[in-house]
């Protein structure tokens, strides 16, 4: 029971950001779940290891929300896998997530900067 709640909490904490990260990854073409994990792992300089317990619920939720669409395809190594593709509403969502995230970074940045400057002084 605690385990499950733990997952839930983590999803909630990451939700906005997680969706944005997944959608961002899908912008360069359809990928399967494992591919998304690998891509984020590589793109973050091996800093981010996405939890499957967050990834799959998020993918299925976004599919229900219409932001991604899925289809079964063969990988290069002949493995059948479910590929996710970003949709037009998904792209719109990504844009708005991005601008919100940008705003957030700016706001937090402007708050944090004076402190650091003051520390230097």
């Amino acid at each position: 029971m605690i385990g499950r709640n733990g997952y839930k909490n983590r999803i909630e904490l990451l939700q906005g950001t997680l969706d944005m990260l997944i959608l961002q990854t899908l912008q360069w073409g359809p990928r399967h779940g494992y591919g998304i994990v690998q891509a984020l792992h590589a793109d973050s300089g091996e800093a981010l290891q996405l939890e499957t317990g967050s990834l799959y619920p998020a993918l299925h939720r976004m599919e229900r929300q219409g932001w991604v669409r899925s289809e079964w395809k063969q990988t290069e190594s002949n493995q059948r896998a479910k590929y996710y593709r970003i949709t037009a509403p998904g792209k719109k969502q990504l844009a708005s997530d991005l601008s919100r995230w940008q705003q957030m970074v700016d706001v937090i940045g402007s708050i944090m900067r004076p402190v650091r400057e003051g520390g230097e002084a």
């Binding site: 499950r4 997952y7 591919g35 939890e51 896998a81």
Partner: protein, 895 residues
């Protein structure tokens, strides 16, 4: 359901494959990097985490999980119910009984009280009657009075009027004459009701009065049923000539299907025009044409304000009556909603009382079911505790138990619906005659909706509480004690005992009602009727009077018919009467204002019957004084009449010797034929068995000639042919029918019954109420007894160890039995005292049904209570004996 579950299964499989693919790719990558296949697999699994958990959380994203859980719960519930069939059957039978009774009664309530009349804004329709010193004037309102209401009132939007012709009319259709009712209506009536003809037009109205224009005097409007049966739905019917009672009319319109007016008349109706004539220009109290009045209230006007306004107006109107006696009879009005006027408030109240009784039975059933569920929840405490320990949340457990309750309730409601149909079928005849329901009574969508509501409620009532009790119990002790002997038991036992006490109290209430009605029926069956009912066949004849226009029906129809029937083999005697006592025919009322002095009171109102001289031999009327009619009384001899004792009492000095009225001549057959009173009949029951005799005058049929005042009045009302015979009714009816056909072909369609049946039918409302209450009360008693038995059996099982210990330590077996019986005793006493208080309050509702007994009859209360106590103790005896038989060794070893 199967579509959803298939969709669900395929989704699940897809998710499995998706996750497998993820793992495979991870393993492949690791192997490509040079890891051993074993190592790669372990690492991939570790990195992925808990596969089942991931699946679970993902599936939750579909928003369907509740559905999956519901499916699980349903399957589990069904499995649980199958596992304990006796419990399941008991609960289902209990709930079905309660639901069935309630749905059956609600079907009747819905049909009789709730369904709006099929007219536009029916709640705005009112009926206005003149009233005065003697109550509501029986003969309707003269046009001049209702015209005043229409002109002066500000609360009425429109006023329409009609005269309900009580005679049967004959409409000559394509092949043969059919019987119809033919009310005369004002032209604005249909518009006031908001229903217009489906084909053709209505009557043209006089703009001022709303009556029909004289140009329309010979037009007629057909009901849909008449149009279909008599004219084969002829689309060209408008403008065609038809004959009603021999008179020619032209069809102006056909009303839409299902329409009828006055409400409650059968489907075969034709409407004839009420054209005002010279007779409408004067106020006459007793002579037709007088009208029934239906009006529509203006929007926003209440019934009360309309009533008070009309009372003021009528007080003014009454001043136009020159005769002070007549003025007193009509100086006020009675205003009712039209739908209220269709059913007496007594009948309404009694129907609600019966519905209440069924609702009590339903409550008892729910309480019983709740008690059973509670016992089971406790018995399953260990199972529930285990599930709690494995991580099920309390909410989840409650949900599960509630689903069980709903499944039980749904199954029971299916059975209950069947039971309801059965009850309605069994009581069809009584319901039809009491509440004037002519079509088949079946539960309609509203009833089904109520059933579903009741089902849901009973499911909640009998599962939520036990579920909460079960889920609240702490897990640890339940697990540790590992058995039936749980610490929650005492609280739980008290709760169940309280439920049983409630059941006892409610059952007693029903049983008291049942007892009172049985006593009433007994009293009614011992009322002296004043006539004989055995071996008497009654034929209800509609007389086609129009065929005998200008002829003498007495000599050309009645007497030949009676002569012929009297000569049939097996007939002891036969005679005619305008409506047998206790029959349902319209009653003729005789009103007379006597001038002069004498002992006779001034205004006389009595029932009037025309009777053949042979009737004393058929119905065995008892003479108190003087003689009955005989064969010597003919059209040419001295006119005679007889009265009954109630008449003498009411109008001729109550205490005097009734014989003194003999020889009085206060009325005549016609102008120059005064009738002499030659006999006084002993009282007989005329209207219903529960009603005292009314004053009555009987006149002799052979003396009635076409110039007699009441010849006209009696001719269309119909006659009953009454036959005393030793033969069985079925063997003689065919011969009677052919004799009647010979007299006049229309009579062949008459309906036959027996005098015994007529008497039986007149018990009607009491019989129906008594039978229903026997069913309800009996079921309640049964439930109550099973409740007591169930609880005490449970108690004995719970306390087996303690009882065994007591016996081991030397307690007498009788003493142990006493412990259990004492438990039953206090529950019964507590229940009985509460129940008697309730019964004391509720039996007043039955007052209108009761006859010859008070609602608080102590003997009934005492005997019913005794019955319940004996039944309860009998139910307690079995568990008590089991308690006394407990083997101490066995009991102590159970630990």
């Amino acid at each position: 359901m199967s579509f959803f579950s298939r969709l669900f299964v395929s989704h699940k499989a897809e998710l499995d494959e998706e996750i497998q693919a993820h793992l495979q790719m991870d393993i492949q990558d690791r192997k490509d990097r040079g890891e051993s296949s074993e190592h790669a697999r372990a690492a991939a699994m570790r990195e992925f985490g808990n596969v089942a958990m991931v699946k679970d959380v993902t599936r939750e994203m579909w928003g369907w999980l509740w559905f999956e859980r519901l499916g699980q719960d349903l399957r589990f519930a069904l499995r649980q119910l199958r596992k304990s069939p006796i419990f399941t059957i008991t609960v289902m039978a209990t709930l079905a009984l309660g639901l069935g009774a309630t749905v059956a009664m609600f079907t009747v309530v819905d049909r009789v009280l709730l369904r709006p009349l099929p007219y536009a804004d029916a709640q705005q329709l009112i009926e206005i009657k003149e009233a005065g010193k003697k109550g509501v004037a029986p003969d309707g309102t003269p046009y001049l009075d209702l015209q005043q209401w229409h002109e002066r009132s500000r609360s009425l939007q429109a006023v329409a009027f009609y005269s309900a012709n009580r005679q049967v009319s004959f409409l000559e259709g394509r092949s043969e004459a059919i019987q119809v009712s033919a009310p005369k209506i004002s032209a604005n009536l249909f518009q006031l009701l908001g229903v217009l003809p489906a084909i053709g037009r209505g009557f043209h109205a006089q703009p001022e009065s709303g009556s029909v224009q004289p140009s329309d005097a010979q037009t007629i409007i057909l009901s849909d049923a008449v149009w279909k049966t008599a004219y084969g739905s002829d689309p060209q019917i408008i403008g065609k000539p038809v004959k009603l009672n021999g008179e020619s009319y032209v069809v102006a319109g056909v009303m839409p299907p299902g329409f009828t007016f006055p409400f409650g008349t059968g489907p075969s109706v034709v409407w004839t025009p009420a054209v005002l004539g010279a007779t409408d220009a004067v106020r006459t109290m007793y002579d037709p044409p007088n009208y029934e009045v239906v009006a529509r209230l203006k929007p926003g006007v209440t019934l009360d304000s309309a009533q008070s306004e009309l009372k003021v107006i009528q007080a003014e109107v009454a001043k136009a009556y020159t005769d002070p006696y007549q003025r007193e009879q009509v100086n006020s009005v009675q205003v009712q909603r039209y739908d209220d006027s269709l059913m007496g408030s007594d009948l309404r109240r009694s129907l609600l009382a019966l519905f209440g009784a069924s609702a009590i039975l339903w409550l008892i059933a729910c309480v019983n079911a709740a008690s059973l569920m509670l016992a089971r929840a406790i018995a399953r405490q260990r199972e529930i505790a285990v599930r709690g320990a494995l991580g099920a949340s309390r909410w989840r457990i409650v949900q599960q138990l509630v689903v069980e309750g709903i499944v039980l309730s749904a199954l029971s409601s299916t059975i209950g619906l069947g039971l309801a149909m059965l009850i309605l079928k069994l009581f069809e005849r009584g319901l039809a005659s009491q509440f004037h329901i002519h079509e088949k009574i079946t539960p309609n969508p509203a009833v089904i909706a109520v059933l579903l509501g009741l089902t849901a409620t009973s499911a909640l009532l009998c599962s939520v509480w036990p579920a909460i009790v079960a889920a609240r119990a702490s897990i640890e002790p339940a697990l540790r004690q590992g058995g039936q002997q749980s610490s929650a038991a005492p609280v739980q036992y008290r709760t169940r005992a309280l439920l049983v006490v409630t059941q006892i109290a409610m059952s007693l209430t029903l049983l008291v009602g049942c007892g009172l009605l049985l006593r009433t029926l007994y009293a009614l069956r011992h009322v002296p009727l004043g006539f004989r009912t055995d071996h008497v066949i009654v034929a209800d004849m509609s007389i086609p009077a129009y065929k005998f226009a200008g002829r003498n029906m007495t000599t050309e129809l009645y007497q030949p018919l009676v002569d012929q029937v009297n000569h049939l083999p097996g007939v002891q005697s036969a005679s005619l009467i305008t409506g047998v006592p206790l029959g349902t025919k319209y009653k003729m009322t005789f009103n007379l204002e006597v001038d002069g002095d004498g002992a006779l009171r001034r205004d006389i109102s009595a029932q009037m019957r025309a009777v053949g001289p042979e009737m004393q031999r058929v119905l065995g009327f008892r003479m108190l004084k003087g003689r009955f009619f005989n064969e010597a009384d003919t059209a040419t001899s001295q006119p005679v009449a007889v009265v009954n004792r109630a008449f003498v009492k009411a109008y001729y000095g109550g205490d005097q010797d009734p014989g003194k009225i003999l020889g009085e001549t206060f009325f005549g057959y016609s102008e120059n034929r005064r009738a002499v009173i030659v006999g006084v009949l002993d009282d007989e029951r005329q209207l219903s068995i529960a009603q005292q005799s009314q004053p009555e005058i009987q006149v002799c049929i052979p003396q009635i000639t076409p110039d007699t005042g009441f010849y006209k009045g009696a001719e269309g009302l119909g006659m009953d042919l009454v036959v005393r015979t030793e033969r069985s009714p079925s063997s003689i009816i065919a011969e009677l029918r052919s004799a009647m056909r010979a007299a006049s072909p229309e009579l062949a369609t008459s309906t036959f019954t027996t005098m015994d049946q007529i008497v039986e039918d007149s018990y009607g409302s009491q019989q129906l109420a008594a039978r229903l209450l026997i069913v309800f009360g009996g079921s309640a008693l049964l439930l109550c007894i099973t409740g007591i038995y169930g609880l005490l059996a449970y108690l004995v099982t719970q306390r087996t160890r303690e009882l065994g210990l007591r016996i081991a330590l030397g307690a007498q077996r009788g003493h142990v039995m006493g412990i259990v019986l004492r438990q039953a005793g206090w529950m019964l006493l507590a229940g009985a005292s509460v129940g008697l208080t309730l019964a004391y309050m509720t039996s007043l509702l039955l007052r209108t049904f009761l006859y010859g007994i008070t609602p608080h009859d102590p003997w009934t209360m005492a005997s019913v209570t005794l019955l319940l106590l004996v039944g309860g103790l009998a139910a307690a005896y079995l568990p008590a004996r089991r308690a006394a038989m407990v083997d101490p060794m066995q009991a102590l070893r159970t630990e």
